[in-house]
């Protein structure tokens, strides 16, 4: 498997990666306007309220788009945007499957994969 670079954890995003250690996928919800967003911010990117909170996502979604990078890398890997059931799309990898069979619209579920010296990161595999 490809070596996964460690995400740069900072004060704002630390709860997201702490939850990843426990196998939970968090997204950010705005208490003022009710909208969820990703990647998570302290201030809502829609209504600009600072009343935002963490919310656990179900961890299931569908593939919005993807691409398998095949050249210039030690082994092919699949980058993708997955649209979560909660409505937001997140950049990720599709893993633990036949990369030639990945399709837009495919149903996927979250799995957590270790990074190099950092917290695990959420990826997706066919549901």
């Amino acid at each position: 498997m490809r070596k996964i670079p460690s995400p740069a954890v900072n004060a704002e995003n630390k709860p997201f990666f702490d939850a990843a250690v426990r196998g939970r996928l968090l997204i950010r919800k705005c208490i003022s306007c009710g909208e969820v967003h990703h990647y998570p911010r302290a201030i809502c990117p829609y209504c600009f309220s600072d009343r935002t909170e963490w919310m656990e996502a179900k961890g299931s979604g569908t593939i919005y788009s993807y691409s398998v990078l095949r050249r210039g890398v030690p082994e092919p890997y699949c980058i993708a945007y997955v649209t979560l059931e909660e409505g937001v799309s997140m950049l990720t990898n599709i893993v633990d499957c036949d990369l030639d069979a990945v399709r837009i619209g495919q149903k996927v579920k979250v799995v957590f994969k270790p990074s190099e010296g950092g917290p695990p990161v959420p990826m997706f595999t066919p549901a």
Binding site: S65, S67, V68, R70, I79, L91
Partner: protein, 388 residues
């Protein structure tokens, strides 16, 4: 305040090098500055405004202004990636209209080819990026970012690899006439599709070249333009825009060109049907297709049909594009293709493109740039230029 007619592109120069291992990046900036000033018939002492972006070494414009020996009353180092230089032309026109400078120099130069840059490597934009912790672990690079745009466009609109390949074919038809182009061989749709897949669905020949080089532009106020001996190219309209992931409400098949283009057309008071020649940023074939739709040359989703069958080839197609061969065949200095888009538009309007690709009676041209990544976040800038 409008910039319509307030500024002219009086000088343009493209560095002939495609591999510059024996030169420094600052030296390349100086060589293109000198070339553009000579093209305009102006001297360095005439320059009182300077514009550069992240390819210029140092803190904003400071090191390069010192290296070049400039005396300035206006400077701007806006960086929106490859689209920066179109933004610079627009900002120079604004500064000229406001009386902040009279002669603006814009430079770009870089050596990604000598330095071993590749579109399959991650690019670093520095520490503390808010998005990087949620993207870098997944191996987002230039090619797979644009590939996701192509994959989604194919899914939503039925766009095909053959249609994308036609964009490369058209660029290659133009590049055969450019002695400086990196890839001068005319290619077929089959050859594009037979080239190795880099990132599904993009093949090697869907990707731009990696080249060293640079370019420069001189923007001046009307009185100065009228005192010079060169054919006059007037800025009619400009637009700039940004588009990102919108907090996860993703739409990969529309670019910010939809907004920058609309703003430029409104300011210029012309429509896509009036445009005789287009320079369209071509980091990948899909980049061209999406921008052609968003600029209004065809409806969203119909770009595949529009670009097919040689419709972008000068002399036979309805919309001649990138007659220098573009980033797909000619060059992509500093991995930033906006500068060369403006330069070829100026050549076309002056009637100085290669005779085999020169558009007849080319009175109105559009130059379009994007910067960053269409698959994550990008800037877009549009210029509409007129031969006076």
């Amino acid at each position: 305040m409008t910039i319509k007619g307030k500024a002219y592109l009086v000088g343009a120069y493209e560095h002939p090098t495609r591999k510059a291992g024996d030169k420094s990046i600052a030296q390349l900036h100086a060589e293109v500055a000198k070339g553009a000033l000579e093209d305009a018939g102006l001297a360095k002492q005439d320059v009182d405004g300077y514009f550069c972006a992240g390819d210029a070494p140092g803190l904003g414009p400071l090191s390069m202004a010192d290296y070049l020996g400039l005396k300035l009353r206006h400077m701007d180092s806006t960086d929106t990636g490859g689209s920066s230089y179109l933004v610079h032309v627009a900002h120079a026109a604004q500064a000229i209209a406001a009386g902040k400078c009279s002669v603006a120099l814009v430079t770009l130069a870089g050596r990604p080819r000598s330095e071993g840059s590749s579109g399959t490597q991650p690019r670093s934009w520095g520490a503390n990026l808010p998005d990087a912790p949620f993207e870098a672990p997944y191996g987002i690079v230039t090619t797979n970012s644009y590939a996701m745009v192509a994959m989604r466009h194919m899914h939503e609109y039925g766009t095909t690899g053959e249609q994308l390949a036609w964009i490369k074919v058209a660029a290659s038809h133009h590049a055969q006439h450019n002695p400086h182009a990196m890839l001068r061989e005319v290619v077929t749709v089959k050859e594009v599709l037979d080239s190795p897949v880099i990132a599904d669905p993009l093949h090697r020949l869907d990707c731009c070249v990696v080249s060293d080089g640079g370019g420069a532009l001189i923007v001046a106020r009307p009185e100065i333009a009228k005192s010079l001996k060169r054919p006059r190219v007037r800025l009619l309209g400009a637009g700039e825009a940004f588009k990102g992931q919108d907090g996860g409400r993703l739409n990969l098949t529309t670019s910010a060109a939809a907004w920058s283009g609309a703003a430029a057309f409104a300011e210029a008071g012309v429509t896509p049907a009036d445009i005789r020649y287009v320079s369209i940023y071509d980091s990948f074939t899909i980049t061209v297709l999406v921008q052609i739709e968003d600029l209004g040359f065809c409806r969203k989703g119909e770009g595949g049909k529009f670009v097919a069958d040689g419709n972008l080839i000068s002399g036979t197609g309805r919309l001649p594009f990138n007659t220098d061969g573009g980033g797909l065949c000619n060059n992509h200095p500093a991995n930033r293709g906006g500068m060369t888009k403006v330069i070829e538009a100026v050549r076309q309007l002056r009637g100085e493109a290669h005779p085999a690709v020169q558009v007849k009676n080319c009175g109105l041209a559009l130059a379009q740039g994007t910067g960053g990544q269409l698959g994550t976040r990008h800037g877009s800038a549009t210029l509409i230029l007129e031969r006076e």
